[in-house]
């Protein structure tokens, strides 16, 4: 089975418009910007698309961890990444697709080893419609509108540790990562060829996997930051190493009476039902001040499972990420 990291996060968005859907042709005016949202019956659930979250993650890795980001040529047409996961960290972790000439190897694709959900609001609500005005010029002022919301967003992700820094040469979509030129580059960079795949050094693989997680406390991005400053770093983060590709943390929160509720019983069920699948303890990080009433609950959990095979470790976000990444070398094969 593949070894994966399962992650669950909550992002506090108290007055935000992190990802917008532009304006709809049916609007009464031409300058309303709506937030991206899912409608369910009467309720509206704002969300941030998975693509946007990946963009934040990638930029954070570039700025905070000096990741070597695949170059993008800017000409008339938008250029594509180099499809070189050996030298560029993001091509390895975020995957790529590139159409090469037949002689150079044809189309190569790489499945992303980091998979993430969109960030979806836990509670349904009605976004606030805000009026703005531009009036610093001569003549009539220009009114415009935009939406924003106040909610807690939930997200999950999984990182496929077996395939970080492992590049395939098989005739299978998503696994045809290599082309002749890249094989030469791989050889030059000390990657090892095992059967139909190339494996980077353990050091590089571990660093990339650790950085992905270490970036979480520094996650930054989102639209409308000038007038809606939102710290998008996770305020609650749960991490565990898993044997196989299930995503255990999908049902940890729910909406109850219009409030976001962390379901501790659901978390305990994961610990008991999946004890044979958990490869590490469960790490829970929480930022002080966010859902403060969970503090005694999580402390009780750590006590309750202290003698268990799989424990619950609880602390600040940064502490937990730092402790969890220590387990990565043991999980990588």
């Amino acid at each position: 089975m593949t070894h994966t990291v399962n992650g669950f996060m909550l992002i506090d968005a108290p007055h935000s418009a992190l990802n917008n859907a532009g304006n709809d042709s049916s609007e009464r005016t031409e300058n309303i910007v709506r937030v991206k949202a899912i409608r369910k019956g009467k309720k509206v659930y704002p969300y941030v698309s998975g693509q946007a979250l990946r963009y934040w993650w990638r930029t954070t890795l570039e700025e905070k961890f000096n990741w070597n980001i695949s170059p993008i040529e800017r000409e008339k047409k938008i250029a594509f990444t180099s499809a070189n996961p050996v030298e560029y960290d993001d091509d390895d972790v975020f995957g790529y697709m590139r159409a090469l000439k037949k002689a150079d190897g044809g189309t190569v694709t790489r499945l992303s080893v980091l998979k993430n959900s969109p960030l979806v609001s836990i509670v349904g609500q009605v976004p606030t419609d805000d009026f703005g005005v531009m009036a610093r010029h001569e003549g009539d002022p220009v009114p415009y509108e935009h939406e924003f919301y106040s909610t807690v967003l939930k997200g999950i992700f999984s990182l496929d540790l077996d395939n970080v820094g492992v590049f395939y040469k098989s005739e299978k979509t998503g696994y045809r990562n290599m082309y002749p030129e890249l094989e030469t580059i791989a050889e030059k960079n000390g990657a090892e060829k095992i059967e139909d795949k190339w494996v980077m050094s353990t050091e590089v693989r571990e660093k990339r996997a650790k950085d992905v997680l270490k970036a979480l406390p520094y996650l930054a991005g989102g639209a409308k930051q000038t007038s809606h400053l939102t710290d998008v770093s996770p305020k609650l983060l749960i991490l565990a190493g898993i044997d196989g590709g299930n995503h255990l943390f999908m049902n940890l929160v729910r909406e109850e009476k219009g409030e976001a509720l962390v379901d501790v019983a659901a978390l305990e069920e994961v610990i008991s039902d999946y004890s044979d699948i958990l490869l590490t303890d469960i790490y829970i990080g929480r930022r002080k001040g966010f859902m403060e009433d969970l503090d005694p609950v999580f402390k009780d959990l750590t006590k309750k499972y202290a003698g268990n095979n799989r424990k619950v470790i609880y602390g600040s976000i940064n502490e937990m990420v730092d402790s969890f990444v220590q387990t990565i070398p043991g999980l990588m094969r």
Binding site: M1, T2, T4, A21, G22, K36, A37, I38, R39, K40, G41, Y45, Y47, S49, G50, Q51, E73, E75, K77, I78, A79, F80, S82, G95, M97, R98, A99, L100, K101, G106, T107, L111, S112, K115, N116, S117, P118, V120, I156, F157, S158, D160, E171, K172, T173, R176, D243, G244, G245, N246, H247, L248, M250, N251, I277
Partner: protein, 207 residues
């Protein structure tokens, strides 16, 4: 007959209509067989096709929404034009998958690859695995699934869909035939596999 019932949940899913490429991409109301065989293949870690296992499923979701997405329209070499498409997706999808091979239980207990409802943003969770003994009964509700075209009393959108894809490059669609996309239940007068716990009939797609 002995079947394995697997409940798979997610937050989002979208199943592309084969005919739409740019502009607006609607989603099918239920996954095609090829998506399900893809999901089984991911769990098993190797290509699984209709010859290996027969499947039936009931699929439901809470609502539909539309996302904006940047796409890159590739041309040979390093260049690509970026464009924005509207992509419809389903919120809180839930799949009850029935397999006639109870021995597949181990694959869903520990899936080989991360399970997805289609694309890499549609993470999915196996939340329940049960082995059941089901009998055939007539006059039960059938639907929220896809059915072969021409079943008595069934209605819905007609769409040509594959049963599975090859894993070669380029991937080829195999077994394309017309299916009915049933997004509601109807009473099926004939005998059909019935799950008393869920009170619905299951159409097992026989190879």
């Amino acid at each position: 007959m002995k079947v394995l019932r697997i409940k798979i949940e997610g937050w989002t899913a979208s199943f592309r209509y084969p005919g739409f490429i740019s502009g607006f991409q609607p989603t099918l109301p239920a996954p095609p067989l090829s998506t399900i065989y893809g999901l089984i293949s991911a769990a098993k870690g190797e290509l699984t096709v209709p010859e290996d296992v027969n499947i039936g499923y009931v699929f439901d979701f809470e609502s539909k929404a539309v996302d904006l997405e940047t796409i890159y329209e590739l041309s040979p070499g390093l260049s690509a034009k970026s464009n924005v498409v509207k992509r419809e997706f389903l919120y809180n999808p839930e799949l009850y998958l029935y397999l006639d091979r109870p021995d597949f239980e181990k694959y869903f207990r520990k899936p080989q690859h991360p399970l997805l409802f289609g694309r890499s943003g549609d993470l999915a969770k196996v939340s329940e695995i049960k082995e059941l003994e089901l009998a055939e009964e007539a006059g039960k509700r059938l639907g929220k699934t896809i059915l072969p075209f021409g079943i008595k009393g069934a209605y819905g959108l007609v769409q040509a869909l594959p049963t599975h894809f090859t894993d070669a490059i380029p991937r080829k669609a195999v077994g394309v035939k017309p299916y009915l996309l049933m997004d509601e239940f109807f009473v099926y007068p004939e005998k059909c596999l019935f799950d008393p716990e869920m009170d619905w009939a299951i159409w097992l797609h026989k190879n």
